[in-house]
Structure formats: structure tokens, C-alpha cells
């Protein structure tokens, strides 16, 4: 049935989607939901997906997976004393991926009918066959366990869709008033974005996984304007997004925090401009996570390193794998970088990835040496000779039902000081003359992830181990290996904080991924600092 016929036949299928005479229960997309919700396998969806896999394998696929997603988004935006926008969206459909003679094919349909998913499965198989005909180096798939029927739900206290738009708006408008009370603050905008994805994946390797993911992204930008309009400064990026539920918003968006951010916006307006040159940097974890994301997260993607992203995101300085694995020195001996998809609240945390590989953690950098990449089932064999690992690390992800899954970033963390639980004060004591940077702001890095320039939301001068006056116009430029090898001190577990990005882009057509990064506070010696006002 064609799409327009389906639409015209809308009345005929009212009440549910037909499948072999059975009906998918009509689900209210945004209706009231319970505070703590969980994923369960819908038996009718399960059957739909298994039919798709059967159709692909019958058409010649040696492996196939089928995935339904129902993606809900809600956003509320405010400025000063009023709501500037409130909206929700729901998108639902099925994507089928087929593997034929070492090549992939993909097709997707928004129609949740047996006929449509079977057609998508056959199209995906035909595309894979066409690609296989011109493929020079067929891909092989790493082994994977059969997990049977499994379910996983992101840990949360409050499902963000169980909280009314009224309650969310009320919180934001009250916080706006707190910011506007601070003398010098002229404008404030705030908002919260909520996401919930119900994903059910079936694979021809014997796994059916129903999973529920949540993300919340609260934000606020406070702008102070000089009374003579000669300058303005904004304090934004105040709270990082998270894979927890709405409780994360309530815990982090508080009047006490807003007072601090408002003070910082006004303080930056009166701050002294920085003197350009080499400085020691004390990077707060609310800032450092993004430096990790850009200079460690992206270059350790195996498809990038091998040229698969050359036209868009770029390649990687960490190549070829044979020359850098187990030998390239990323940083000092106390530098350990872990990749994982298992931490509660991590935005890349899952039960199973989008090809049925169970979530795990593994080291990327051990004692300062680069030891592994991020991989999928199709990529593991490319480096198994050097890593001794035949299996995927479980990094397959698609941003929606209509996107083909490919390698995406897991949560990647800088481990805190394992020997000494240093506090922020202890870490500052190691700096005689430096700049303390907090919050993410401008970030730019080249297509091989060497040359970067970052700036923070707020900065202070550090003198004799203490934070002193505020500084503005601060940005630092460095080359990735030089920067990480200049890391001199890292804080202990007590300084560890998890930040992250809701919208990390990769691939063509572009897909968005959400990922978290945890790290302690850290000191870097003699980094090139620019004055961006000159």
C-alpha cells in the first residue's frame, strides 16, 4: 500500500495498526505516564520485526536487523517573564538493515504494517546486493551472543513526560526572576528539552531487545549589559544535559545556582581583559569534558581513522592503527581514558547497542598510551590483529528509525587521580600563575583533531594557588598531543563531574548522538592563551 493510500485509508485503520488480523494497541503518545516507567517487549511489535527479518533473509541476507523507534521530544522555551514556545513531537517507524556478501543495505518506513516492513526488508536487501556488486573489500561481522528477549530502561526517578508543561514552565519562570533580580542583569532565557525513545530491536542472531532511553537538557543564558551599552556579557551552558530523568533538572536548576550564574554574568562585564601568552590552565570539569570529547572522543573513532568520514567530519591523526595502537603516547602516565556505555545517567548508556551487542566498558588510553578504538561488529576485525579482540565494543547507533546505524561515540571519561583524592584546593595549590576556566563556550578543532581552540563561560586568574580576579576574552589554542602531555595534575574522585552533549553530529546524511563525558579538575602547563578582543 502506498503512503497516500494509507493516509486516505486512515479511517479504516482507526483504532490500531493491522498486523495479520491482530492490532497494535492504540497508544496515546503524550498522555499521562507514570513517574517511573519501563520498557517492555510488545508482542505485536516483536512479531512485526521478526517478519521483517524473515523477509530479508528469505531475499538473500546473511544477517538482518529490524528496529522500531517511537521518539518523543518536548521543549519549552522562556525569556524573562513569559513562555516563548512550547512544543512536542512524536515520530515512529521501522528501519531494516540487511547484510549481503559483505555489504549493507537499509530502508525505512513510517508505516507500521506487515506489508510495509516486508517491503522495506526486501528493499534493504536489494540495496545491499547492489552495493555488494561493486564492493572491493567485503566487510565481516564480529561474533555476537544471542540474548533472547531482553528489556532495559534508563535509570530514572521521574519520567520527564510525567511532568506537566505547566510545572516545567513555572520552574523556569521563577528561576528567570531570580536572575533578573541581580543588578546589571538585563535579559534571561531558559528552557528545558526532554526526550524519550522507545526502541525495540530484533536481530537475526537471536536477540529481541526493548529499551527505553531518556534525556533531559535544561538551559539558561543570563545576559548583563553595561549601563552605557558599551559592553555585554552572557553566562550560559550552566547545566549539562543528562541521561537521567526530570529529577536531574530539579536537582540542578535551583535558585541558589541561578544567583551564582547571575553574579558571574555581571562579574564578567567588569572583568579585566586577559594578557595573551603562555599560561598554566586549571580546567574545571564543566569545561574539560568538551575538550575530551573533541580531542579524544572523535579521533578514536575507527571509521574516521580509516577514511570513512573523509568528506565530512574528517579523518584522524590516530592512524594507521598498526602504527599507533599500543605505542602512541597520548599523555602522561597517570592519564587513563575509559570508554563505556554502562554508567547510570550517561547519555550513551544502553543495555544493548543497535546491532544487539551488550554494553561494556574498555580502555582507550592506559597509562598514557593509546590502546584501542571505538568499534562496531563490522569494524572489530580491522584491528583485531593489534588488539587481540575479535568482538565489537558495542558502538552501533542510529539516531532514529529512518537512519542507518553506524559507529557512534560511547561515553568517554578521564579517570580521576587513583592515588590521591585531591580536592580542587589541592589542585589549585600546584599553580603559581594560571587561569581557571569553567563552562563550555566556543570550541573548534581541525578535521584530523590536532589543532584546537576552546574557551569557557567564565575565567579567573590563579595566583599563588588561589583564584583571584575574573578575566575575560580568554581562549586557548593547542595541538592535541602537546596539550595532553602538558597535563600535570589531576583531581581525585571528589572533583569528578559528568558533562555531555545532546547533539553530536556525524555522518552523511547527518545523524545526531548524545554522549556523556566524566572527568576531574586538571592542570595543564604553559598553554597558548589568546586575547579574543584584540
Amino acid at each position: 500500500m502506498q503512503r497516500r493510500d494509507f493516509m486516505k485509508a486512515g479511517a479504516a485503520v482507526a483504532g490500531g495498526f493491522a498486523l495479520n488480523g491482530r492490532m497494535l494497541a492504540a497508544r496515546s503518545l503524550f498522555g499521562p505516564s507514570v513517574s517511573r516507567s519501563r520498557a517492555t517487549i510488545d508482542p505485536v511489535l516483536r512479531e512485526l520485526l521478526l517478519e521483517a527479518i524473515d523477509a530479508a533473509t528469505a531475499a538473500g541476507a546473511s544477517y538482518a536487523d529490524a528496529r522500531t523507534e517511537l521518539v518523543l521530544r518536548q521543549s519549552i522555551r522562556t525569556r524573562e517573564d513569559h513562555v516563548a514556545g512550547a512544543g512536542e513531537s512524536a515520530s515512529e517507524g521501522v528501519g531494516v538493515r540487511a547484510f549481503v556478501d559483505g555489504s549493507w543495505g537499509f530502508a525505512a518506513t513510517p508505516e507500521m504494517t506487515l506489508e510495509a516492513v516486508v517491503r522495506a526488508a526486501r528493499t534493504a536487501t536489494a540495496v545491499a546486493q547492489a552495493n555488494a556488486a561493486v564492493q572491493r573489500a567485503p566487510m565481516t561481522l564480529a561474533p555476537v551472543e544471542s540474548y533472547g528477549d531482553v528489556a532495559w530502561t534508563a535509570p530514572h526517578e521521574i519520567d520527564p513526560f510525567s511532568v506537566s508543561v505547566e510545572e516545567k514552565a513555572d520552574l523556569l519562570l521563577r528561576l528567570n526572576q531570580v536572575a533578573l533580580k541581580r543588578s546589571g542583569v538585563r535579559f534571561v532565557s531558559s528552557g528545558v528539552s526532554c526526550y524519550r525513545t522507545d526502541k525495540t530491536l530484533a536481530t537475526s542472531t537471536g536477540t529481541v531487545a526493548a529499551q527505553r532511553f531518556m534525556r533531559v537538557g535544561p538551559y539558561m543564558t543570563i545576559t548583563a549589559v553595561a549601563s552605557d551599552r558599551s559592553r555585554f556579557q552572557s553566562r550560559g551552558s550552566v547545566v549539562e544535559p543528562s541521561g537521567y530523568g526530570y529529577e536531574y533538572v530539579l536537582e540542578n536548576m535551583t535558585p541558589e545556582s541561578v544567583e551564582v550564574w547571575a553574579d558571574e554574568a555581571v562579574g564578567m562585564l567588569q572583568a579585566d581583559t586577559v594578557e595573551a601568552g603562555d599560561w598554566d590552565l586549571v580546567l574545571h570539569p564543566t569545561h574539560l569534558w568538551l575538550t575530551i570529547h573533541e580531542s579524544i572522543g572523535h579521533p578514536t573513532e575507527l571509521d574516521r581513522a580509516l577514511g570513512y568520514e573523509a568528506n565530512y567530519a574528517g579523518t584522524s591523526f590516530l592512524a594507521p592503527p598498526s602504527e599507533v595502537l599500543n605505542s602512541f603516547r597520548y599523555g602522561p602516565e597517570f592519564m587513563n581514558i575509559e570508554a563505556e556505555r554502562i554508567t547510570a545517567g550517561g547519555m550513551a548508556s544502553i543495555g544493548y547497542d543497535d546491532e544487539g551487542v551488550k554494553a561494556e566498558s574498555w580502555p582507550l588510553v592506559q597509562d598514557g598510551i593509546f590502546v584501542d578504538y571505538q568499534t562496531t561488529r563490522g569494524q572489530a576485525s580491522w584491528i583485531s590483529e593489534y588488539t587481540g579482540n575479535e568482538r565489537s565494543h558495542g558502538c552501533s547507533y542510529a539516531s532514529g528509525w529512518d537512519d542507518i546505524q553506524f559507529q557512534r561515540m560511547p561515553n568517554i571519561n578521564l579517570e580521576p587521580n587513583a592515588h590521591d583524592d585531591l580536592s580542587e584546593e589541592d589542585v589549585l595549590a600546584a599553580v603559581d600563575r594560571g587561569i581557571y576556566v569553567e563552562g563550555r563556550n566556543s570550541y573548534s578543532i581541525d578535521q584530523q583533531r590536532y589543532n584546537f581552540q576552546f574557551s569557557g563561560q567564565v575565567a579567573w586568574e590563579v595566583k599563588g594557588g588561589k583564584k583571584t580576579r575574573m578575566l575575560r576574552d580568554v581562549a586557548y589554542q593547542a595541538r592535541t598531543p602537546d596539550f595532553w602531555n602538558s597535563m600535570a595534575v589531576i583531581g581525585g574522585p571528589q572533583t569528578y563531574y559528568v558533562g555531555g552533549s545532546l547533539n553530536d553530529g556525524k555522518g552523511q546524511p547527518g545523524q545526531s548522538n548524545a554522549v556523556s563525558h566524566g572527568c576531574p579538575i586538571a592542570v595543564f602547563r604553559d598553554v597558548n592563551v589568546l586575547n579574543t578582543a584584540r
Binding site: 497516500r4 486512515g10 512550547a86 551599552r229 577514511g307 589554542q477
Partner: protein, 442 residues
């Protein structure tokens, strides 16, 4: 699945009417849209993925007095539509008032904007695959080169309607194709890209040859010290800088004192001041570029001049801010057309005594909104030019600069090119651009 499934005007009107009829809100706005897109991606001299995706979705905005909320969905059965309408209404009732909401518009009349081209709408997987195969053939035929490309075509039909009788419908297509060619030794990389609404307007063989030639000539670059240099930018690079300027033309930010176009002191803006070189001309031309002749609420979009002879003519007003300030609403500064001259890219390079030719910019991020200062990098082909001739490839740079200084230093402009389906920009020669550090990335 094929493009004949795109909503016709009659179908769009019928679907929108059905949704409006379901609503009990004081005011209701609806948008409906169906899209098809097909893409073929290549890397390491092989086709890596290809896909065909279509979708139809609707959005409903319900309003009670000054309370408003929107819901969108791709569930189009009767139950899905009803759920969206009911949910928009219940959310709107719970949403606090927005005093800035403007009343919905009644019926409007629109200029005809031709944006749909059959050659693009029928660009199927086989044709796309042949283009990718040709790029790989060109690359491998010129030596030890590796091609990575992305060709995407899309077609869409969209309509908006509201409970006061406003209705607008537009169909459009777009095609974007870019190709990166790298040398096997990893020391050289070249890029070229083309875009249009009409696939038949694109010169693919020339584009393939350009990307491959830039790769070959960029092999084994040497360093040039960072600093200020005269520069020739391709239209693609110019477009990136232009976008930064266009994104800063909001009147409200300027009036509120938090824009590069705010006048210091008591208030006001820099409208009327000559801020850029007199060769700089910038307008929005939605109809000329085949874009929708309306914005989301149905307001007709007309040609708007932003800069004339380097003078800031006006800033952009939405309906609310225009009413507050007694100005005419203009809509966003989109569908941009920057004026140019007759010179070719080669002519611009021939006029450069000593300086750089830059193919492409990358990873551009804002540093300071007060001066529209941004940072970014060059990539895929930077060359040192002397006496009008390219003499050698050089390493990439990080740059820190602003469109306000770049476009104040225009020496010459080339013939405008379509850099995306809805933007036309010329290549240019600028007397100075600030390169802050060398990037060894290739």
C-alpha cells in the same frame, strides 16, 4: 516508493482541513509536509551506503487567548491526527501566557516561487551510483587518489493553514553534491562541491576534476607563518563567512544593546552606516531562489535588501518586534543573494600579488558576538600565490576573523554561484584575513 507520493496541493488542503476541523481551540495553525530523500555515500573509493527515506508529518498549534502549544507527529491515521490535535489543545491550556503572540493571519496572496525540478526529484539510486562511480574513476585515473563523496537529492511538498482561512503550499527540490579527494600518502586533500534546486544545472565532470586536481596539487605542503594575508576565497568559503553576518542581522538584539549592530550610548542601531566595502551587496530573494514565498505563520516573504554599497540598509524584524518598533516585518535573513562581478575564480587568483587561495573553511565557532568574531580552520586545499600564480601548497591554518573586517576589505568579486539550493554567493579576493596558527591536519 516514489516522488509521485508527495502531497499535491489538493491533498495538502484536504489534510489540513481535516485537522482544522478536529480542533476546538480558539485558534489553530497546521503545517503538513511530505518529503523524499535519496542519498549515495562513498569513501575509500567505494560506495559505502545508499538510502531512500520518505516521511509525511503534520504539526498542529493550538491557541487559547495567549496560551499556545504545538505538537507534531507522523502518525496520520484518524486516531493519530486526533491525538495530536487533542494534545496540542491540552498542552496549550497548561502553558503560561505569551504576551508576544501575534494574531494569526487571514488569507494572503503569494508570488509564485518555482522551486521544484523534475530532474532532481527523479535522481534515483542507479543515477547516483553512476556519479559516485565516475568520481572514483576520475580519482583513481589521476594517480594514487582516494575519493569520498556524498550526493543527496530531496523533494518535498509542504503546506500551512490556519483557522482564519490562511493557506499556502509550496513544492521544492534540492540537490547537494560534494567530493573530497585525498592522496594515498595522506599529505594532500582537495574538495569541490555543487548545489542547486535543479540537478540538470550542475556540471559534474568539472567538479570531479577540480577536487582531484586540488588533491594532486596539495600534496606535501609546506608552512607559511601565521599572520594577516590577502586571500582568494572560493564561493563556498565566502558563503560560510556570509552566514555569520546574516545570522547577526536581528533587529531586536540590536535594539536591546546586545548585537554588533547596536549603537553605543543611549540606544539605536547602526542602520544607515557604511560598515563594509562599497562593493558589498546583500539581499534576501526567496522567490528568485525557489524558496517558499512565506514564513511559518503565513506572512508573505518578499525581496529584502540588507546591505547596499556597504551600507546597512535595515535589520530583520519578526511581526511582534516590528509592531513594537513601528517597523515593517521582514522575516529572517534567509534565501540570500550576495552581489558579485564577472570575474572567474582564476581571474581573482591572477589578480593576487602575494597571498593565499583557500578552498574550504571548517568548524566555525563564535568567539565574540560583540564583534561577530569567529574562529575556524581551512581545509582541503590551501595554496600560496605569487604574481597571480599558484606556486605551492601550504599547511592549513586556524583563523580568527569577523565578516565585519573581511567584507570591509573586499578587493574584487567573482561571478555569483549557487552554493546551496537557496543561496547565491560569489568567490572573492580580500585584502586581508587573519590566520592565527598553523594546523598540520590534512
Amino acid at each position: 516508493m516514489n516522488r509521485s507520493d508527495l502531497l499535491t496541493e489538493t491533498e495538502a488542503r484536504e489534510l489540513a482541513s481535516r485537522i482544522l476541523a478536529l480542533s476546538t481551540a480558539d485558534e489553530t495553525e497546521v503545517s503538513v509536509g511530505s518529503t523524499w530523500s535519496g542519498n549515495t555515500r562513498s569513501a575509500v573509493n567505494r560506495i559505502t551506503t545508499a538510502g531512500e527515506v520518505e516521511n509525511t508529518s503534520i504539526s498542529v498549534t493550538a491557541r487559547f487567548d495567549r496560551r499556545q502549544a504545538s505538537v507534531s507527529t507522523n502518525r496520520l491515521d484518524e486516531e493519530g491526527l486526533r491525538a495530536a490535535v487533542d494534545d496540542a489543545a491540552s498542552q496549550a491550556r497548561l502553558t503560561p501566557e505569551n504576551p508576544e503572540l501575534m494574531p494569526p493571519l487571514g488569507p494572503q496572496s503569494y508570488a509564485e516561487s518555482r522551486g521544484f525540478f523534475e530532474p532532481t526529484a527523479s535522481l534515483g539510486p542507479d543515477a547516483r551510483g553512476r556519479v559516485a562511480a565516475d568520481a572514483i574513476r576520475v580519482a583513481t585515473g589521476k594517480g594514487d587518489l582516494t575519493a569520498a563523496g556524498f550526493l543527496t537529492a530531496s523533494a518535498g511538498a509542504a503546506a500551512i493553514a490556519n483557522s482564519r482561512g490562511m493557506f499556502a503550499y509550496h513544492r521544492s527540490t534540492s540537490v547537494d553534491y560534494e567530493l573530497t579527494v585525498r592522496t594515498a600518502d595522506g599529505t594532500g586533500s582537495g574538495w569541490a562541491g555543487v548545489a542547486h534546486r535543479d540537478w540538470s544545472q550542475l556540471d559534474i565532470p568539472t567538479m570531479h576534476a577540480r577536487a582531484a586536481d586540488r588533491a594532486l596539487h596539495s600534496r606535501e605542503p609546506t608552512s607559511v607563518d601565521p599572520g594577516n594575508y590577502p586571500v582568494v576565497f572560493t564561493a563556498a568559503a565566502m558563503s560560510d563567512i556570509l552566514g555569520l553576518l546574516a545570522g547577526s542581522l536581528n533587529a531586536r538584539s540590536a535594539d536591546e544593546g546586545r548585537s554588533a549592530f547596536s549603537a553605543a550610548g543611549a540606544g539605536g542601531t547602526k542602520v544607515g552606516e557604511k560598515l563594509l566595502d562599497e562593493k558589498f551587496q546583500l539581499e534576501s530573494d526567496p522567490v528568485g531562489l525557489g524558496s517558499p514565498p512565506y514564513q511559518g505563520d503565513g506572512m508573505p516573504l518578499e525581496r529584502q535588501v540588507w546591505f547596499r554599497d556597504g551600507v546597512l540598509e535595515q535589520l530583520s524584524y519578526d511581526r511582534y518586534w516590528a509592531q513594537q518598533q513601528g517597523a515593517e516585518p521582514t522575516g529572517f535573513a534567509g534565501s540570500l543573494r550576495m552581489g558579485g562581478g564577472d570575474a572567474t575564480l582564476e581571474d581573482l587568483i591572477a589578480g593576487l600579488d602575494r597571498g593565499l587561495f583557500v578552498t574550504r573553511l571548517w568548524y566555525i565557532r563564535r568567539i565574540d558576538p560583540r564583534t561577530i568574531l569567529y574562529t575556524g580552520l581551512t581545509r582541503d586545499g590551501v595554496f600560496w600565490v605569487e604574481n597571480g600564480e599558484i606556486v605551492r601548497p601550504v599547511h592549513n591554518f586556524r583563523w580568527n576573523d569577523s565578516p565585519l573586517t573581511a567584507f570591509a576589505s573586499i578587493e574584487a568579486l567573482g561571478r555569483p554561484e549557487r552554493v546551496s539550493s537557496s543561496r547565491e554567493v560569489p568567490p572573492a579576493r580580500l585584502s586581508s584575513f587573519h590566520f592565527s596558527t598553523v594546523s598540520e591536519a590534512v
